[in-house]
Symmetry: C2
Subunit: 499 residues, 2 copies
Amino acid sequence: EDNAMPQAIPFPQLTPQEVVDFIPHGATVAFSGFSPAGSAKAVPLALADHAKSEHAVGRPYQIRVLTGASSGRCIDEELASALAIAWRAPYQGGKTLRRQINAQQVEYVDMHLSHVPQMAAWGFFGKIDLAVVEATEITADGRVYLTSSIGASPTYLQLADKVIIELNRHHSPRLRELADITVLPPPPHRNPIPIHDPMTRIGVPYAVVDPRKVIGVVATDAGDDVEDFSVAGEDVARIGAHVAQFLLQEWTMGRIPKTFLPLQAGVGNIANALMAALGQCADLPAFMMYSEVFQDALVPLMEQGRLLGASATSLTVTTPMLKRIIDHFDFYASRIVLRPQEISNHPGIIRRLGVISMNTAIEADLYGNVNSSHVYGMDIMNGIGGSGEFTRNGYLSIFMTPSTAKAGKVSAIVPMCPHIDNNEHSVQVVVTEQGLADLRGLGPLQRARVIIENCAHPAYRDYLHGYLAGARTGHIRHDLRRCFELHRNLLETGQMLPV
Amino acid sequence: EDNAMPQAIPFPQLTPQEVVDFIPHGATVAFSGFSPAGSAKAVPLALADHAKSEHAVGRPYQIRVLTGASSGRCIDEELASALAIAWRAPYQGGKTLRRQINAQQVEYVDMHLSHVPQMAAWGFFGKIDLAVVEATEITADGRVYLTSSIGASPTYLQLADKVIIELNRHHSPRLRELADITVLPPPPHRNPIPIHDPMTRIGVPYAVVDPRKVIGVVATDAGDDVEDFSVAGEDVARIGAHVAQFLLQEWTMGRIPKTFLPLQAGVGNIANALMAALGQCADLPAFMMYSEVFQDALVPLMEQGRLLGASATSLTVTTPMLKRIIDHFDFYASRIVLRPQEISNHPGIIRRLGVISMNTAIEADLYGNVNSSHVYGMDIMNGIGGSGEFTRNGYLSIFMTPSTAKAGKVSAIVPMCPHIDNNEHSVQVVVTEQGLADLRGLGPLQRARVIIENCAHPAYRDYLHGYLAGARTGHIRHDLRRCFELHRNLLETGQMLPV
Ligand SMILES: CC(C)(COP(=O)(O)OP(=O)(O)OC[C@H]1O[C@@H](n2cnc3c(N)ncnc32)[C@H](O)[C@@H]1OP(=O)(O)O)[C@@H](O)C(=O)NCCC(=O)NCCS
Ligand SMILES: CC(C)(COP(=O)(O)OP(=O)(O)OC[C@H]1O[C@@H](n2cnc3c(N)ncnc32)[C@H](O)[C@@H]1OP(=O)(O)O)[C@@H](O)C(=O)NCCC(=O)NCCS
């Protein structure tokens, strides 16, 4: 920034290695970051090195790690690889950490994201020893200008005994123009949160810290390293087309208000591709989003005027997309708001605005229960994330998944889900490339039939109909001997149906 | 009421039999009632008779039935017995209807209660042909003074094509003083709901109907017929003591604000007994409730000054308790507010106030997933009711159940729940008469151990530890061959453990 006033940094400058001394074995550390966006980078890497040297000389070194949600390479890969994480909450997305969690080497507490700040503030996870928060600036009076995500950082800055700021030169200081930060007061006498539109701003562009707690700042220059999305296959395009057609039909029939409703889309490849598909559906009106993560696909939609405005808690975009936003910042600054996760995912606001939620399932069962987090009900993929807060409170709650995974060896429509993140009481629509099942107002048996006919892959329909026919009668039909037969086959033979 | 002005009733007076003509086979009828309290009585009985005569001459006669929640004898028993219900939502509690649902003779859609009015308003269940609403008065300009529950009646009165009012002389017209009624506007541009305390009033004491839609009024004189609670056994007293001790500890440790927080308690015998136990714990401060149903146990607590005020959607009390309230109405009128279920169960308000939710489970599994609705995952008991809205959004979410049912033949702690109403991501505390498991911040395996040790009945602990030990490693340990072994044993032999 040519026109920026060069300023003395009002806090001691430390190297990442110097910070390590403040973090003893057993400490609870809260890092900034919601997805790779805005996550602490230099300190976790130094901690990883430190852990390795401690382990090399036979000393234990592990910490308890809190973040906003998943985190970048530095925490969920590097720090994890160093075997330095004992406990992790509330969400993760790293391959290495995932492996450790599934091997029961790391305790992982997978939680609804909007509740984390309140729980942390009231000591549900114990004391937070240190917070490490990425920012573009910290002022002498303790204003902290965050980077590409807000997440739970405003709360962690208030709670932690001590604070380190990672001053990241890579990020534009203009990112602060997107931030709308407020920390909710304690219950029970709280005023309503005065947001009545996805773009309403109610706070300030900075988080606040007591400057006496700030031990120092660490200079960094690293990007967020958001992974590129895989190119959407035909299946995903079909899912997008089914959702677009459904929303159009609902809108035309008057079951969605004429002004349309704000959309939320989940994380990952499928959600990213879905948004691209919705944007291309010219018959749908231009829309707003009230969502958790702002992903790549939204950038062109905003430029085309299809996406009018978006509220999120993180700008989880690849480096070229971030550059595109920064290069046209005057355009984006009035169209994107980044909020604390307590607000972006707040059940009351989602309910009030009438958000249409669209999340991705690993699998759905015959009755509309959805598993988004645990393969076989055992192995964590990422976590429930914000899917519960959007699904439970949305005006309409949609789940999507390709009808099969692993080259057809796995059906994403199963008799019973062995883990349930969002249940039949909350899920209203299930979509695969095969079609869409509108479950509203249907009893369980009716739901099962429409899910099999509309969503299951043809190769699995006979099996699923057979399961239903052979099951014990009840409000919900099941056969407790066979309900996990497909999953057991998969575990034992590598595919769900017998060869 | 001696001092009431006798008034001409401004609408045609009909007999219940005359109303039947307005309700053809296949109609969708919305009845007032949230639990037996305030439910329509005369018209459902007449419909039951009509259905029987139609069936006797070989003509089909069945209707689709909406209510606020469960309903009294007249609907879920009598109308059901006449085989006159084809479809039922959003909750039920009758033995006859339950049997029919489990035999798959009635389609039953079991839903989160606060969402029902919005879904109905936007046509998710189709058109509502007629609403039958109990009231103490209707004015010529269409103000409808409801009786002992609000439920979804204000919305049904607005939506239905035609309306019948059951004018119930049995109920005191003073009940209106408890009512605080408002119907939420459509999304997306809604203002926040300005409730910042369980007792805040934001509406008017009456529901509103377009008088041109009112076909007539039917005079009735029947009480609500709320069933008496069974006397609480020792187990339930122990559950109450564990919860009281936990809340006291949390409050003392500063993990509950000094002002304390509003409580919610579920429906049924156990919740009723729990409230009595909490009231007797003299070390706990006097408290408020922000709950769904006001049950018997709260009456003495209010008189003793232990319960300072209560917000609910229904006054589900037995006839003697209702008399006690009416006899001291000046006292109660300033301490009880009855709201529409859209507000009493609103996720945003529950979250804002920091409600401590305490609901009853049929069973809980090793990881904190809870089944409150479906025995064996198949046979409906009642439904999820409001438990999801309170659990998901509560400041603390507690589930309680005796550790065994059916004289010890059934363990309420099982390896995996075959139906999940509230999942491990939302449930924080599980309590049985054996003890309390505080699951906050624990990974799955830690949760499993504390649930077995603190909550399971000693007769089942070895089995459960053995299950865990033999299960496949993963973030969550399970054995998909054995996870429902106990349930299968129960189905096959009448008890969970082999003899
Ligand atoms: C469900 C979720 C994993 C899907 O992610 P995605 O990137 O859109 O989907 P993909 O199809 O690429 O699947 C991801 C992986 O799951 C695997 N998978 C999908 N369905 C599967 C199934 N039924 N059984 C086994 N594996 C499955 C895929 O094969 C893929 O594995 P790979 O990485 O080894 O190739 C992801 O959306 C998620 O973590 N959701 C939970 C959190 C959430 O919903 N947040 C929203 C917040 S608002
Ligand atoms: C779960 C629920 C059924 C418990 O009701 P309760 O009256 O407190 O508990 P009881 O111990 O009397 O149990 C009710 C019945 O369930 C049976 N039961 C309980 N646990 C059981 C188990 N694990 N397996 C089989 N049956 C079980 C009891 O034996 C009893 O059966 P009976 O009527 O034939 O005697 C009831 O709270 C409910 O319907 N909850 C769901 C809705 C809800 O939570 N609403 C709260 C709204 S805010």
